[in-house]
């Protein structure tokens, strides 16, 4: 079985599991008292954000490894991860405003977390546009790696922005020094969703990486 086929089956499996997450979140997870049904967007928005961050993290790490080792496989992996990260960023940036509208009474606000997240999206887009614009195959990986490393340095600021600035965005409730502050059924649904989105990321990247193999147009 080729890498593309394995990636396809991983993706299909992850999509089936995502359907299971939908059922669990909508049917078997309690409704939050203050936010009502809109809070259930949380089970998609947060894992999508996680996958987008994971993508950019790997873009940055692969970029560093490419610059150190000059191995094209790292560049191809970074390109695959950046494209997949853009998709998860789209999910994050559409589900976020859909959650914000009923709760904050606005689709968007220019606070630190949201603005930095939008910057992450533009970095993903910039990375992909740069790869398309630089035709020289010896320069493209190097230029792209610089943008990838810029993206990596942005991640800690995004995570810590809710501590560093006054923001409407809620504080982390799982990725924080103390124990997660969620009731057990909600936490289990969220953690399962994290797992499914990570699996989706793996499936997508396997396929996208396979697509770049054997071509200069990674």
């Amino acid at each position: 079985m080729t890498l593309a086929q394995r990636g396809r089956w991983t993706t299909i499996g992850a999509l089936v599991l995502l359907a299971g997450i939908y059922v669990r979140a909508l049917r078997y997870t309690p409704v939050e008292a203050h936010q009502g049904l809109a809070q259930k967007i949380f089970y998609l928005h947060v894992p999508a954000a996680w996958s987008a961050m994971l993508s950019m993290g790997f873009v940055g790490l692969a970029s560093i490894l490419y610059l150190l080792l000059k191995d094209m496989r790292y560049d191809r992996f970074a390109a695959a991860s950046a494209e997949v990260g853009t998709v998860f960023c789209c999910v994050m940036l559409t589900t976020g405003p859909l959650w914000a509208r009923p709760i904050w009474n606005t689709w968007w606000t220019w606070d630190a977390r949201l603005t930095l997240t939008l910057m992450l999206f533009f970095l993903f887009i910039g990375y992909l546009v740069l790869r398309g614009a630089v035709t020289d195959p010896s320069l493209r990986p190097r230029y792209s790696a610089v943008v990838g490393i810029c993206g990596l340095t942005l991640l800690p600021f995004i995570h810590l922005s809710v501590y560093l600035f006054r923001t409407l965005h809620p504080m982390p409730i799982v990725l924080k020094p103390s124990a997660p502050s969620l009731p057990a059924p909600m936490l289990v649904t969220l953690l399962l969703s994290f797992g499914v989105f990570t699996l989706l990321y793996i499936g997508f990247v396997m396929q996208r990486y396979a697509l770049g193999e054997g071509t200069s147009d990674a």
């Binding site: 993706t11 049904l37 967007i41 998609l44 997949v84």
Partner: protein, 39 residues
Amino acid sequence: MPEQVVQTGGYMIAAYIVTAVILLAYTIILARRIGKRHD
């Protein structure tokens, strides 16, 4: 109150549909690109 629940439920359904559409669309796009490369 029930009206508010219905309204927030609408946003929730929209978010769930949008997520499914984006992820399925990318799955199909990748499959087609890989299919084209094999042709």
